[in-house]
Assembly symmetry: C2
Homo-oligomer: 145 residues x 2
Amino acid sequence: MIDDISVTPLKRIQHDKGDIYHAMKSSEDSFSSFGEAYFSSVNFADVKGWKKHSKMILNLIVPIGAVRFVAYDDRISSKTYQQFFDITISKENYCRLTIPHGLWLAFQGVGREFNLLLNIASIEHDPNESVSCELGDIKYNWDSM
Amino acid sequence: MIDDISVTPLKRIQHDKGDIYHAMKSSEDSFSSFGEAYFSSVNFADVKGWKKHSKMILNLIVPIGAVRFVAYDDRISSKTYQQFFDITISKENYCRLTIPHGLWLAFQGVGREFNLLLNIASIEHDPNESVSCELGDIKYNWDSM
C-alpha cells in the first residue's frame, strides 16, 4: 500500500424498495473538507489519466459498474517511492478510496456497461493545481484487467 | 414551485472516454454545509416516503435512471401551504434538487432499470431529526408516472 492512501469499507444497507449505499460522513477520519462532488464515467477498457493534484484530496466511490484505479508514487522522500497501487472498486467491493495530493492517478473502466465514479473532493476544481501527462509517460500494464 | 425548493441545472461535460457530470460545489448558492453523502436506489414504480426532516437540507442528484420526487408543504405559515411539487430528474434532465428542512418528501423509481440518487446532505444522518408517515397518509396519485 502506498503511504497515505486509505481504503475504507462502506456499508450497503438492504431495502426491499432499493438499497442504500454510504459514501462519506463529515465525522469520518478520512474526511478533510468538502470542496466539490462530481461524477466521472469511463468506458470499458478506456483509461483516463495520468493526473497529479498538488492540493486536492480525492475520495472515490463507485456506485455503478467497476473502476480500476492505479496510483503511482513519485515523491522522492516517500517510503513507497516508485511503487504502484492498483485496486478495482465496484458495488461488489464497495469501499471508498482516499488519494492524497501528490500522487499520480489514472483509472480504467472495468465493467462492460456503465462505469461511474463519484469524487468527493476536498477543494473545488482548479486547473492550476493539477498536472497531467500522457498515459505512456508512466509505464503500466493496463491490459491485465 | 414550493417556497425554498430550488432546481439547479448541472453541467454534463462530454468526453470521448466517458462524460463528467457536475454534482455540487461548495461555492454555490444552494450549498449550506456538508454533513454526509449517500446513495439511495429505488426500484421501478416503488415509492420511498414520506419523510420530513427538521434539520437536514437535501441536495439530490440522479446520475442513473430517473427518479420522481414529490414534496408536500404542510408548513401552516407558508405561501405554498398544502401544495405539492412534482419533478422527475435523470441524466437527460440533469439538475440538482435542493429540499429545505420542514417539507415532506417521497420519491419513486421511474426508470425500468437501475434508479439511483445521490443525496449531499447538510448534516449527518440522525434518526431523531426526521419523522416518517405511511405513503397513504398524504394522498397523491403515484400512478401517473
